[in-house]
């Protein structure tokens, strides 16, 4: 999978990972893929809900080591 942009939200707690994700997606073109790295477990639910509600597509969410990794296609 081609990742167009990566966002580091490690060490940040709710609501910062969500706000940064929202802001990053606003600046991207439709169809581009964003990968977000966060360490806040709450980001799994928050970012998924935002992505679904805003018309983007959550391609993958995984927990690897300390990272919660979200891969999102801009809608």
């Amino acid at each position: 999978m081609n990742i167009d942009q990566e966002l580091n939200a490690r060490g940040m707690n709710c609501p910062i990972p969500l706000m940064k994700t929202k802001r990053a997606l606003e600046k991207m073109e439709s169809g581009k893929v964003l990968r977000v790295y966060a360490t806040d477990s709450g980001s799994m639910k928050d970012i998924l809900e935002f992505v679904n509600g805003a018309g983007h597509t959550m391609l993958n969410q995984e927990h690897v080591g300390k990272d919660y990794i979200h891969t999102i296609r801009r809608g």
């Binding site: 060490g11 709710c14 928050d46």
Partner: protein
């Protein structure tokens, strides 16, 4: 009349039950990510009301439970710490604003801070200490002038106290217990119905667990302290008291002042004298341990530290604002927010409005900081 040995035995029973309920609170809040700040953030950032519905349902269930218990005379609504002779509207609003602003900067309210400590978040330990210092300052130190100012400039003396049921009862020609129950059914039932009307809300077992579970725990704590712990005549003072409470008043879950009392207990206790353990202190410890146990069970326990100077500063400021604001407002998102609102105290509703508004201001600042740092 109860003798001292019987009183101590009752106090111990109240403390043990309060601790068990707090453990359950910690488990449920950690499992379901129960978070008032998250609820405000979801509405503000993405227009999602799901977490606000969870909060609304918890408040609704707590209101219904309190209303029923008051109606049947199991507890005395006028004895709660949210019922007073004067409505301190400015303190509730201003303190609420400060608390709400602080909870966004500190990544969550006082309750969430305890949950995060249980999850291994060391930032929240810093926030905990700042809440304790801020609250101590507002209760016994320099910041108490803010409370005095608010009371001097924004107090409305009411004939019937702060409970809305007592305001309406004389006009309706009914007793306040009946009006309280009717209002609990209308407002509490309405909030619960609003939460359950969403299919998305109902589809998540965690939403239902958080809404019902937290609401029922608030009710259970009212019963433990307000019914079981009520002593008509204290064996020493002969006053009516609620066993196990720090100030002798009837209360349920609350976190700001108890966080301060917890730190005070650790730092200022004379080791040669018996420990002054109160329900409030045990709720703080219980919620942290409950969260810790569930974080281990669910494998979500993870050490996490501060992330640079700005992150540190924001969490320190946020914690201080919550400590000072929480005391001035008379409680936090759980104290005034759920416990206070369940009593139908007008002051609690004002404090909640302040907390929500302060949260929005905090979120605007967070967005401004993000854009400035880009």
């Amino acid at each position: 009349m109860m003798d001292m040995a019987e009183y101590v035995a009752l106090e111990n029973t109240v403390l043990v039950l309060a601790f068990v309920l707090s453990l359950m609170f910690g488990v449920i809040a950690q499992r379901t990510s129960f978070c008032t700040m998250g609820a405000v953030s979801d509405v503000y950032n993405m227009g999602s009301w799901t977490r606000m519905r969870v909060w609304g349902m918890a408040a609704g269930v707590a209101m219904l439970g309190f209303g029923v218990m008051s109606y049947f005379g199991w507890i005395r609504a006028a004895d709660t710490i949210y019922s007073a002779g004067a409505l301190n509207w400015l303190a509730a609003l201003g303190g609420g604003l400060l608390f709400g602003f602080g909870m966004v900067l500190a990544s969550g309210c006082a309750n969430k801070t305890l949950i995060r400590i249980g999850e291994g978040n060391l930032k929240s330990v810093v926030v905990f200490i700042m809440i304790a210092l801020g609250a101590t300052s507002a209760m016994w130190g320099l910041s108490s002038v803010l409370y005095t100012f608010a009371v001097d400039h924004g107090t409305r003396y009411t004939e019937n106290g702060t409970l809305m049921s007592a305001w309406i009862a004389p006009a309706a020609g009914l007793d306040s217990g009946t009006v309280g129950l009717a209002m609990a059914v209308v407002i509490g039932g309405g909030l619960t119905a609003w939460a359950l009307s969403s299919k998305k809300f109902r589809s998540s077992a965690n939403n239902l667990l958080a809404g019902f579970g937290i609401g029922l725990l608030i009710v259970a704590m009212w019963w433990v302290i307000g019914h079981l712990g009520y002593v008509e005549e204290h064996p020493d003072t002969l006053d009516a008291v609620y066993a196990g409470t720090a100030a002798g008043g009837m209360q349920s879950f609350s976190f700001t002042s108890p966080i301060a009392r917890s730190l005070y207990l650790v730092t200022m206790t004379d080791p040669t004298r018996p420990l002054l353990i109160s329900v409030g202190v045990l709720t703080v410890v219980g919620v942290i341990i409950g969260s810790f146990l569930h974080a281990l069970y669910s494998r979500t326990f993870q050490w996490e530290g501060l992330n640079g100077e700005q992150d540190t500063a924001l969490h320190m400021i946020g914690g201080t604002c919550m400590g000072v604001g929480g005391v001035i407002a008379g409680g936090c998102t759980v104290g005034q927010g759920l416990s206070g609102v369940s009593t139908l105290s007008g002051e609690s509703f004002i404090a909640v409005a302040g907390i929500m508004l302060g949260g929005v201001v905090g979120l605007r600042l967070q967005m401004w900081l993000l854009m400035r740092n880009e």
